[in-house]
Amino acid sequence: MSAGEILWQSVVPLFSALPVTLTVLGLLLVVGLALGTVLAFAQTYGRRPIRALCVSYEQLFRGIPPIVVLLFFWNGLFQSIGMPRVLVAALALGMRSAAYQSQIFRGAIQAVPAGQMMAARSLGMSRFQAIRSVILPQAFRLALPPWSNEYSSVVKDTAFICVIGGLIDLTRQAMMKVAPLSMRPGIGTQLVLPYLIILGLFYLVLTFSGTALLSLLERQLQIPGFEMKGKVER
């Protein structure tokens, strides 16, 4: 068997582990987006105690390594109630991502000139109406570039989820293949590095395709004359 074939045999299982990584990634982004948006508005427009609560949440989850959050959520909280592992992983990483995303959205909301809110209120809109129809559409556009940064960051956070026992994502699957691969007579140890590079390519493709879609979305939603200040014309 050629080296390429041996390598390919170990690559095939990665495709079957891909759904686990994609599911966790998708769910964690949903959790992060929903919770992050709420946190951002609460932090910007909320009363003082609510603001303080949001800041504590954000500081807490931005200050703890993802592995610790995952271990705490699984071993400390949800294992005993029998929640599916994939959900626990997505919730843990999603709540962590929400802390980061809240800052992205807060920055975007604050980048919308304060006069917009005043103008909307002077037209008779309620605060909620103003946020929904005036602030949010603009803030969303401003938030897209930094949000794509957060996306590319959490793609790789999913590689930590295998600290939850029994959850076989891309990275764990690759680690399970490293040992038998390295013990292939004659060629094994030389194939480990190419194999890990292929594992890296999986994440590269996930990151690249996601950020490419987001920048497409960014162009689609662009409003001429309303861009981040200092944008370079190409």
């Binding site: 299982p13 271990l71 939850i164 680690m175 490293v178 040992a179 390295s182 013990m183």
Partner: protein, 281 residues
Amino acid sequence: MKKLLLVLGLLVVLGLAVTAETYKVASDTTWPPFEWQAGTGELIGFDLDVMRLIGILEGYDVEIVSYSWDIIFIDVGSGSVDIGASGATITAEREQIVDFSMPYWTSNQAVIVLGSSGLNIASALGAGKKIGAQVGTTGAKWVQEQLIDKGVDVQLVEYTLYPLAVLDLVNGNVDAVVQDEPASRASAAADSRLAIVGVIETGEEFGFFVTNGDPKGVLPKINDGLQQLKASTAWADLIKAYMGGAELAKIEAAWTAAAPLLAAKDVVGFASALAAGATSP
């Protein structure tokens, strides 16, 4: 065919629900020949087959769950999985969080170097050397306690996976790797540049383990099954199949061929077919 499989599968699931209990077995399936994932996706290895055969003998079903090594003790300790089967050495430290079965395997630590380095066991573990080992294993512990703590000026480099330590050895980043003998033999057999320069007679004993206090009462079953297994020809056959230094691909093929016997709960027949397949020329 698919429908037939579905119906069969349903029958099996229903049958299990009524008749037999299922125990979850946690294992770090990155450690041939004790546990690894075959090309077919099946989790196989010495530990796992011993677990399956004991399950057959004692009338319970076994579900193997793949775990990262460092997490197994936490989850068996908390009882979210029932049994740990992962080439674990019985130590007083581990006894505090889990209960071990009777020993089923005695292992020593082998020292691997690059053949071209010309090192022997004394110089490989001598002053100024970098020694690799898997984190949390008895190999790493031995280097710490028997060398570093006793004042020998060596550096211990720990890896999450054993093959990564070997890879670093091949790349010349460490001088030697200390690891359980069977895994070391498999590595040395696979790469002619690697040589085992010696075996440290630690005589450590492997045990299966359950939650402290054995709340599910599974430990007596394991011990009883283990005794039955050791008294039969299946035990020697399993050792022959997995510890004989056969190429992993060959063991995998033999396992796939013998799997129907496992499904038919034929303990002795399965082990003998596995041994015959793995050792055939």
